[in-house]
Symmetry: C2
Subunit: 161 residues, 2 copies
Amino acid sequence: MPSPSQAPAAAHPPLQPQPTSLRASLHDRGQRLTPQRQRVLGLFEGLGEGRHLSAEEVHQRLLGAQARVSLATVYRTLRLLSSMGLLQELELPEGGRRFELAGDAHRDHHHLVCVRCGRTEEFENPQVLAAGEAAASGHGFRLVECVLNVRALCPGCIAND
Amino acid sequence: MPSPSQAPAAAHPPLQPQPTSLRASLHDRGQRLTPQRQRVLGLFEGLGEGRHLSAEEVHQRLLGAQARVSLATVYRTLRLLSSMGLLQELELPEGGRRFELAGDAHRDHHHLVCVRCGRTEEFENPQVLAAGEAAASGHGFRLVECVLNVRALCPGCIAND
DNA sequence: GTCGATGCAAAGGCTTTGCACAGCC
DNA sequence: GGCTGTGCAAAGCCTTTGCATCGAC
C-alpha cells in the first residue's frame, strides 16, 4: 500500500500532481519549485505507475501539452527528480534510458520484453521481490529496488520465425 | 553445473576457446573466422561465465594482450557474437552496455548492484527463473533469458551514510 | 582470386554543459 | 533583490558507418 507522503488533510486522487510535497522536497535541498519541474513530475503522475518514458518522449509530450520546456531542462529535471527519489531510472535492453514514477509498488515491478520487436509487457511477482531481498540481505546490502527483466520472443515474432 | 556445449570427444577445461564451433556457426551464416573474432570470444571464455565487459574494456584487454584490434571491430564483433547467441548484452543501471558469455547458466544469473558505489555481486536463484518462465508463458512469450537487477546499498555505503 | 573483414577517421545519436537572461523565494 | 533555473547552442561521450586495403576460404 502506498504510504501518503505528507498530506493528511484531504484525500486526493492518486493521479493528481502534489506540488506541496514536491515543493517541500525541493526546499529541503535549497532548490525551487518551477513550472517545468511540476510539469515533468505531473506528466509521470498523470500516466500512473509503471509507465515509462524516455527524455525525448517527455519533451514531446510536454510540447504537445503547450508547456514550453527545453530538452536540456528535461534532462536536468529527470536527473533531479531521480536523485530526489521521485522518479526512477530503469534499464531496458537495446533501448535507451527511461524513467518512471518511483514508489514502493515498483520494488516489485518487472518487464517482459520481446528481444526481436521490443514489445514490452509488465508484471508483478512477489517471489521475485522476496528473492531480491534475500540476495541483498545475504550480502549485507540494503534493498533499494529490484527489477526483473525477462527477455523473450513474443507470440507474433514466434509466428514469424 | 554448467552443461557441456557440444564437445563429447575430449574433456577440456571450460576456459579454453572453441574455434571449431565458432567457425561452424560463422560458416553457417556465410561469414569468416578471423583472429579478431577468436580473440574477442576467447577473452570472454577466458574470463569464465558471469563476467561482463564493456566494449571499451574488451578493447583495452585485447590491446594489453598484444592483440591489435580496432575499437570499431570490437563493436562489430560484439554485435555479431550477440546476434549469434554466443554473447549476451546486459543492462546494468547507470552504466553502459556490457556483454557477457551466453549460456544456459545465464538464464538464472542475477546482479546485486550498489546504487552508490557501483559494487556488483552476482547470484543465482531458481525461483527467479521460475517467475520469469511463468511471466513469459502467461503472456504467450517464449523465454530467452531473465535477469534480476537488484539495486541496493552495500555495507560500506550504508556505514558512510 | 573472390568476397568478406579490418582499420582508420569521420559522421551520428543522445546527453551534458557554459553562459546570459528570466523568474522563484 | 539575490540566487537558482531555464533556454539556447556548443561541446562531449559512445557507437556506427564509408571506404580502401587486407586476408580467410
